[in-house]
C-alpha cells in the first residue's frame, strides 16, 4: 500500500551495510594467506583454519562451551516447562513474585551476576568447578526459555485440552498427547536460544571460569587482548557459520523473527 522512497532505501542500504560489514570482513580475513590481519587480496588460504588445531586450548574451550551449552539449555528447559505450566495454569500466592524471580536475570547486568557467582563459588570452594559453571549458565538462560514457553502456552487454545478431557483422556495423557506437542515449537525454540546464549556468554563467564573450564568466548577474548593474528578471524568465521546454521534451524522450527522479536 505505502512504499519506501529512494531516501529511505538509501538509508536502509547504509544500515544493512553497517550491520554486515564487521561480519563480512571477518569471513574474508579468515581466508588470508598472510601472517597479519589483512584482506585475502592475493589468493585464499585455509592455513589459519588449520592453525586452530595447533592450539589445543581452543579445541578444549570449544568442547567446554559445547557441553556447557547442551547441559544448561537442557536443564533450563527442565526448569522452565513445569514453571511455565504452573505460572500459566494456576493461581497461587506468590505467583507474580516467582515469575519475577525467574525473569530477574534479564534485568541484572551479567557483570553483576558474574561478580555475585564468583563470591558464592569462592565461599563454597567451588571456583572452577564445571557443574557450578553449568548452574550459573542455567540461571542466565532460563528466562529466555520461560518466556517462549509462556508465550506458547498463552497462544494455546484451551478448549482443545478440554475436548481431550471430555473424550476420556487423563490429565497426564492430555499433557503428553495434546499440550506438549502443541508447545513443542516453543520449547525447542527456547532450547536453541538458550544454547546460543550460553555458548556466546562472555561477561559473566569470564568471572567464574578457571583455566580448566575456560569457554570459547572467554578464550577468544583473552587471545584477542594479547595477540592479533588471523587465527582469531578463522575462529570467528567458524562461529559465524555455526550461528548462521543455528539461525536456519531456528527459522525452520519456529520462525526466527518470532523468537527474537519475542525476546526482550
Amino acid at each position: 500500500m505505502l512504499k519506501n522512497g529512494p531516501v529511505a532505501l538509501l538509508f536502509h542500504t547504509l544500515v544493512v551495510g553497517f550491520v554486515l560489514a564487521p561480519l563480512v570482513v571477518i569471513c574474508l580475513v579468515a581466508f588470508t594467506p598472510e601472517n597479519t590481519l589483512s584482506m585475502p587480496w592475493r589468493g585464499l588460504s585455509l592455513r589459519w583454519f588449520r592453525a586452530i588445531f595447533d592450539h589445543p586450548d581452543f579445541v578444549i574451550s570449544f568442547q567446554n562451551s559445547l557441553l556447557l551449552g547442551l547441559l544448561s539449555a537442557t536443564l533450563s528447559v527442565a526448569i522452565a516447562v513445569p514453571a511455565g505450566l504452573a505460572i500459566d495454569r494456576y493461581s497461587f500466592p506468590g505467583r507474580d513474585a516467582i515469575n519475577a524471580l525467574f525473569l530477574s536475570p534479564l534485568i541484572i547486568p551479567h557483570l553483576v551476576l558474574g561478580v555475585a557467582f564468583l563470591r558464592l563459588f569462592a565461599l563454597l570452594g567451588a571456583t572452577g568447578d564445571f557443574s557450578w559453571l553449568v548452574a550459573s549458565h542455567v540461571i542466565v538462560v532460563t528466562p529466555y526459555v520461560l518466556r517462549l514457553v509462556l508465550a506458547a502456552l498463552n497462544g494455546l487454545d484451551r478448549s482443545v485440552e478440554a475436548a481431550a478431557l471430555t473424550l476420556g483422556a487423563s490429565p497426564f495423557t492430555v499433557f503428553t498427547r495434546i499440550t506438549a506437542p502443541l508447545i513443542l515449537p516453543g520449547i525447542s525454540g527456547g532450547w536453541l536460544l538458550a544454547f546460543i546464549n550460553s555458548f556466546d556468554e562472555l561477561t559473566m563467564s569470564i568471572f567464574v571460569t578457571s583455566p580448566q573450564t575456560v569457554t570459547l568466548p572467554v578464550r577468544m577474548y583473552m587471545y584477542a587482548t594479547e595477540s592479533i593474528d588471523p587465527m582469531m578471524a578463522a575462529v570467528s568465521a567458524l562461529m559465524i557459520a555455526m550461528t548462521a546454521a543455528a539461525m536456519v534451524v531456528l527459522d525452520r522450527i519456529f520462525g526466527l523473527d518470532k523468537i527474537l522479536v519475542g525476546q526482550r
Partner: protein, 283 residues
Amino acid sequence: MTTNRVTPWLLVAPGAVLFLGLVLVPLVLTGVLSLHGYNHTTGIQPDFTLAHYRAVLSDDYYLGIFWRTFRIAALTTLICALIGAPEAYILSRMRDPWRSVFLLVIIGPLLVSVVVRAFGWSMLLGSSGLVNQAMQALGLPSTRLLYTETAIVIALVHVMLPFMAIPVWTSLQKLDPAVEAAALTLGASPFTALRRVVMPQVTMGMLSGSLIVFGLSASAFAIPGLLGGRRLKMAATLVYDEYMHELNWPLGATIALLVLIANLVIMLAYNRAVEARARRTLG
C-alpha cells in the same frame, strides 16, 4: 483457573530453589563483600566499613569512568534510536520476501557472539583497517579510531541496534496500516502523517528500546575491553580489573553493585513514566 494448592508449588519448586540460591544469595553475599575492608597485603578484612562506597563516589578517577560510561551509553542510545527506529519503519513498509530477509539481517547478528563482532570492528577500525584505507584512498589523513570512545560507540551501536529495532518493529506491527492512509486521505502530508500519527504510537517502543540499549551499553564488557584498550575503561572493565588485576574484590563488588543500583533506578523511573503516560492516553 485451577485451584489445586500443591501442584503449582511442586512444578515451580526446583526452579525456585535454584533461583533463590543462585540469584538472591550471591547478590546478598556480594553486598556483604562490598562492606568488608581490604588490605593489599592481607586481603579481605573481617571488619565492616563504607570506605569503598566513599572512595568510589568521591575519587575523580572512578567518577570519571562512571561519567564516561554514562556518556557512551547515552550517545549509543541516541544513535540507536536515530538509526533503529527509522530502519524498523522502513522494514515494516517492505513487502515479503524482502521484509523477512532484512528483518533477519537486522536482528540476526544478535545471535553472533559479542566477542566476534567486537573483533570485526577492531579489524575495520585499526590503523591499517579498511576504514582507514578507505579514508586514505579518498585523500583524507589517517585517523586513530581504535582505542577511542568513537570506536566503542560505533561497535556498541552495532551490538545494540537490534534491541532498538525490535520493540519499535513490534509496536509498528500493532499499528493498523490503514491509520497512516487515513491521515493521508484527510489531507496530511506524508511527513505530517508520520509525525502526528505513526510517531506517537511507536514512542513506547522507542522508550523501551532505549532503556534496554542504555542498560546493556552501560554494563557492556567485551566492546570496551577490546576496542577501548587498557586505558579507556568503562564500568564493567573497571570491575574486571579490580577483581583480576588489583584483586580488590570488595572494591570491585562495590562498583558492580553501584552499576546494578543505577540500572534498577533507571528502570523504575522508566516504569513510572510509562504508567503515567499510559494513564494519560488511555483515559
